[in-house]
């Protein structure tokens, strides 16, 4: 298991170089000149040259990439052009909010999704199954911003249980977590249900029945355990999405977060900040996938051996 972990980590190194190259280039391929955003209309060419020199925009792309990568690896992501603060600080300040929202949303979709899927699979083709799957279809198709607004209307405005927006108190986290988590929960519930139904058809499950193992022990200790293997993959793929992709929810609930930071950086053409955010999110996706693979290997001895061979 340790060897497997180390090998998986090493495999991420080339991926990191490719991703960082793409992240670096993407911003240069987007039309629009950042220098134009930094100077007031009617500034002199001298002022313009000074800014280009200050941000290294006059050097070749390769030089810019190498020096940028060198700084990135040493932990310096540069200074945001518009916000005039270190990119690392900006990301760090927003990361807490994103992690809280993403973490709780992920936990909610995992727990509620697995529970709903397991119940639906165990009462297959009965009203509880149809009900749960209907709700989950709704959950995965309703746009998050609309769901968020509806929940604000009901729980914050009408009932007054939670704050409308902001991030001052933990109760303000409830609605955003539900909004982000419901989509994930719907997905997890469907995957869990299908995986459990498929597993229940396997020969070894028949043999467990033939061994006289109680039905619920079979469902939970054997069938559900197998069904969790694909669920882990789904969840690990969602880590990056939830941390960086909750922009609409952050806007609806007026919460800070990495998604909003990235959108703001993009609209202001703030190169260092865009690069910093993208790189950070790419890392989150990579680490999420790694975590998923490691969990899978821990749960499935076949996978472990396949990788060791």
């Amino acid at each position: 298991m340790l060897g497997y972990t180390i090998r998986r980590l090493l495999a991420l190194v080339p991926v990191f170089f490719v991703v960082s190259g793409v992240v670096f280039l993407v911003v240069h391929l987007v039309p629009g000149d950042p220098v134009d955003h930094l100077i007031r209309t009617g500034s002199s060419p001298d002022q313009r040259a000074e800014i280009i020199a200050r941000y290294g925009l006059d050097r070749s792309l390769i030089e810019q990439y190498i020096s940028w990568l060198g700084r990135v690896i040493s932990g310096d992501l540069g200074t945001a052009i518009v916000m005039r603060r270190p990119v690392a600080t900006l990301i760090w300040d927003n990361l807490g909010y994103s992690l809280a929202l993403g973490g709780w949303a992920l936990a909610f979709s995992a727990l509620a999704g697995v529970a709903a899927g397991a119940i639906a699979a165990s009462f297959r083709e009965r009203w509880i199954d149809h009900g749960l799957m209907g709700v989950s279809l709704l959950g995965s198709t309703v746009p998050t911003f609309w769901l968020g607004l509806l929940m604000i209307m009901l729980f914050a405005v009408q009932l007054g249980w939670v704050p409308v927006s902001g991030a001052r108190h933990w109760t303000s986290l409830i609605l955003p977590v539900l909004t982000v988590g419901l989509g994930g929960m719907a997905l997890v519930a469907r995957v869990t249900r299908i995986a459990m139904i498929e597993t229940a058809r396997e020969d070894f499950v028949m043999l467990l029945h033939a061994k006289g193992v109680p039905r619920w022990t079979i469902q939970i200790r054997h069938v559900l355990r197998h069904a969790l293997i694909p669920v882990v993959t789904i969840l690990s793929l969602r880590i990056g999405l939830i941390i960086g992709g909750s922009v609409t929810v952050e806007y609806v609930f007026a919460r800070p977060g990495l998604g909003s930071l990235l959108i703001r950086a993009l609209s202001q053409r703030d190169y260092p900040l865009v690069q910093g955010c993208l790189l950070f999110l790419a890392m989150a996706v990579m680490l999420g996938t790694l975590l998923g693979d490691l969990l899978q290997a821990a749960m499935d001895p076949r996978q472990r051996d396949e990788a060791t061979r």
């Binding site: 070894f204 043999l207 061994k211």
Partner: protein
């Protein structure tokens, strides 16, 4: 009789995969259940195991009497205690019969913990003992392996050990060697025969291999399309097969010294249960059809310790 199945009929919705199955097995005896795929052998096993409801089927008629108890009348809770405890199943494919993420030793433990009330330590020592008796090399080490780390033959030994862990009186082996290499097949069959002789178990051996039946069984039930068509002691059935289907099956066994090209098959195919022929179910493939065969199903006639359902033997005449 340890187990007797009397006039069993089962239904899956409107389909009736088994109609009129009668057979019995005694302690220390091997009953062979033979027939082509789709003849209802596995369904008979599932019926005895009480696992039809899991597959969406039910018993419509008849009795399954095990050790004096009619199993068609007991509830699921009591059935569960019998399953794996007093009646155990060995399935066809050792590659898929074991939980791939649980260590094989633990899978054997599970049965003795459930049915003999052993704690984990006792179960482990019983398991290692059983694995040793199944001639699994270095059982202490094998205990902690996962199924994919074992060969097919070893996995089937694990499945057999698992079936024995609950100390059953009756063993149902559903084509236990079909998925294995020929060399391993003989070892596994040998192992099963020894178990029956040494421990006085009853064994129902399901197979489509007449050769295996001839060598190991005491009695045979030949099944076709959900019916037992011939039933009797193995030696007499092979010496003097009465049903044309039994005759055809025996003539399918290849023999040494046969002229090349003379090995026969049975023409036609097993009809599906949605599309059964009228009259005797075998008549479209039979080589000695009478007029009656196309009209009615022949009843089972028992005479002199053997039964056959064929109009050729109506009233005991040949």
């Amino acid at each position: 009789m340890l187990l007797s199945v009397e006039d069993l009929k089962i239904g899956f919705g409107l389909l009736e995969p088994l109609v009129g199955v009668d057979l019995g097995v005694d302690a220390g005896e091997i009953l062979g259940l033979v027939g082509e795929s789709g003849s209802g052998k596995s369904m008979t096993a599932m019926s005895i195991m009480g696992m039809l409801p899991l597959m969406g089927g039910r018993i419509k008629q008849g009795r399954i009497v095990f050790d004096g108890l009619d199993l068609t009348t007991i509830n699921e809770g009591s059935y569960r205690k019998l399953r794996g405890g007093r009646i155990a199943l060995i399935t066809q494919n050792p590659m898929t019969s074991l939980d791939p993420v649980v260590r094989v030793g633990r899978q054997i433990d599970q049965a003795s913990q459930l049915h003999l009330g052993l704690d984990r330590k006792e179960a482990k020592s019983r398991t290692i003992d059983l694995m040793d008796r199944m001639r699994i090399p270095s059982p202490q080490h094998a205990y902690d392996l996962f199924p994919h780390q074992l060969s097919g033959g070893l996995r089937q030994r694990i499945v057999i050990a698992m079936a024995l862990a609950g100390d059953p009186d009756l063993l149902i082996a559903d084509e236990p060697t079909t998925a294995l290499d020929v060399t391993v097949q003989a070892q596994i069959i040998q192992l099963l025969v020894e178990l029956v002789r040494d421990r006085g178990l009853g064994l129902i051996l399901i197979t489509h291999d007449m050769g295996v039946i001839a060598q190991t069984c005491d009695r045979v039930a030949v099944m076709y399309c959900g019916r037992v068509v011939e039933y009797g002691p193995v030696a007499r059935l092979f010496d003097d097969p009465r049903h044309p289907y039994t005759r055809a099956l025996i003539s399918c066994i290849p023999q040494l010294g046969m002229a090349p090209g003379t090995l026969t098959g049975i023409p036609g195919m097993v009809p599906s249960s949605q599309n059964l022929p009228k009259g005797c179910r075998f008549h479209p493939r039979c080589d000695s059809v009478l007029d009656n065969c196309r009209l009615r199903e022949p009843p089972m006639k028992t005479e002199d310790g053997r039964s056959v359902a064929c109009f050729l033997h109506e009233g005991g005449q040949r």
